[in-house]
Symmetry: C2
Subunit: 332 residues, 2 copies
């Protein structure tokens, strides 16, 4: 089932991006197919990413008992939004590598990089309007409003993330609005769109949306824990630890609120690779790790509770639960 979905997603994405496949825009199209992982050096499954977001859309639609193929334009739209945000994030974070490959702006320059991200954003809007083929206009419009509201959340989350870089007065309360926008909003939208297109009633749509929201939050917290105590963070190169990056992740914010030895060191300036193990241990002593794990568990419980209310059906329902388990347990 999943491989059939993934193959259909890739075909739909290629169809959507092909709107720019014309002689005069050849290099524009190439930038996008490169970023999507289809062409250029290092192209292939490693380069495309896991397509988790479109998969969630289709599994949700199918778990409502509807034809998942009708939802393909929405699946493509969310993945294009995700990739638009990656292209612009790489510019905003000065990132030179993405999934092991040179980033678009680094390869084609800043100007083309900004514009390539804009192009992916436009294509996501256009993809969504293709729902018209199988849904009445009011449903398509409802889907568009969900997508646009989500994109506003994304840009708001990104604004917070950038503005946090220079701030030293942040606490745990500042964390949730930022990750709600940056990570949870789009996953919530995947579930909400899938349920809308699956014909679920308002109550089930809201349960699916809330499931996605908490799934996104739990996933992000797990990711934050791995960014400090994961194997790669502790044993890998310096860039593998969020501590060296100075990322305001949840464990760091718990540590800062504790205002102990970790906070003291953090406020003295950038952390070096040699300190990573000792500081991770210090942060653990100051209970930032267990606090973050508690938060992850709370978000996971809320996700699963909402999934029970949503009551996904059939093989797709099982797959959706398994996908959630896989995402939620990766850090456990």
């Amino acid at each position: 089932m999943l491989s059939e979905f993934l193959s259909a997603i890739e075909t739909e994405l290629q169809k959507q991006v092909a709107r720019l496949d014309e002689p005069r825009a050849k290099n524009f199209h190439e930038m996008l197919t490169y970023h999507m992982g289809w062409t250029g050096e290092g192209a292939g499954p490693e380069a495309t990413g896991k397509r988790i977001r479109p998969l969630i859309v289709l599994l949700t639609t199918a778990s409502c008992g509807a034809n998942w193929q009708f939802a393909l334009p929405a699946a493509a739209a969310v993945e294009l939004v995700h990739n638009f945000s990656l292209v612009h994030d790489d510019i905003e974070d000065n990132g030179e590598k993405r999934r092991g490959r040179t980033t678009v702006w680094k390869k084609w320059g800043l100007a083309q990089g900004v514009n390539a991200g804009d192009g992916l954003f436009v294509l996501s809007n256009l993809a969504l309007t293709d729902l018209e083929a199988d849904y009445p206009a009011p449903i398509v419009l409802r889907a568009a409003k969900i997508l646009h509201a989500t994109c506003l959340d994304l840009t708001r989350g990104q604004f917070l993330d950038i503005s946090y870089e220079a701030r030293t007065d942040l606490g745990v309360a500042d964390y949730w609005p930022m990750v709600s926008g940056k990570t949870a909003a789009l996953i919530a939208a995947c579930c909400q769109l899938g349920a809308l297109l699956g014909g679920a009633d308002e109550t089930r749509q809201e349960a699916y949306r809330a499931f996605g929201h908490y799934l996104g939050l739990a996933f992000q917290v797990q990711d934050d824990i791995l960014g400090i105590w994961g194997d790669e963070a502790l044993t890998g190169k310096s860039a593998a630890s969020d501590l060296v990056d100075g990322k305001k992740s949840l464990p760091v914010l718990f540590g800062l609120e504790k205002n102990g030895e970790f906070a003291k060191r953090w406020r003295q300036g950038p952390i070096h690779a040699e300190e990573v193990r000792a500081l991770a241990a210090l942060l653990e002593t100051e209970s930032a790790r267990t606090s973050a794990q508690d938060a992850a568990r709370q978000m996971t419980d809320l996700a699963l509770e909402n999934l029970r209310v949503a009551n996904p059906q059939g093989e797709a329902g099982e797959s959706l639960k398994q996908l959630a388990d896989k995402l939620l347990q990766r850090g456990a």
Copy 2:
């Protein structure tokens, strides 16, 4: 009439941008209100720009005999698209001033600048969905598709513009696809949206669209002529001449095709402020000015011919014709 329209446009724009007016996103909202010309140093009518695009939407709707107030969300949407593209263009061109004020990216940094542009783009999408209050869903969806297709044209035109910078093999044939995307597409969309929302039939919608398209092209060619032979270009500071900028404007492309003395000098490298008068005269001798004027006249004729077919009515129809005359004759 125009002042009533302009005041309603400003109110609608402020309402749309206020979607980000919340305590946590305060500075995000401020970046957008600054760019829109409402707040910060130099705020005021000079800073907002002329709002020509939303004015065209409303005049078109009214000239079809419909209530122009219903079209306000579309008017706001096109102006937000225009401003999104300005914010990103300033980044892509490394522009530090816009309408005499410091650009957003220069004031708040590259990362926030890219994200502020994205925010304006999202707000344009959301604005358009507000048409739902007064139009049935299929019309709103049709309007959304027009806007999205236009944005794809914009990014395609921007791609061409950036890629032309490094090219030395360009001719007049390369000019039209670039300015069709960068300038004409959005003005065409203003007319098309206005006609759609004014209840015009398909034939009249197409005539309005074509009017906007040729109006945009004629306007751009006039602007190109002024960029070389306008008072400011000849007597102002070096930055006032497109020749110093190395801009591939229509007269320059005519000159390059001629392959005479101007082309020879152009290919030798950047043009200095002291050479501007002599090179403008040279370009005129090589008939680039008359060729560009001929092109502007052709585009103007096509615009006016289509406007006759569109057959705008009443006071709004008169205002639309006057606005077109004003835009078309500015370089004559």
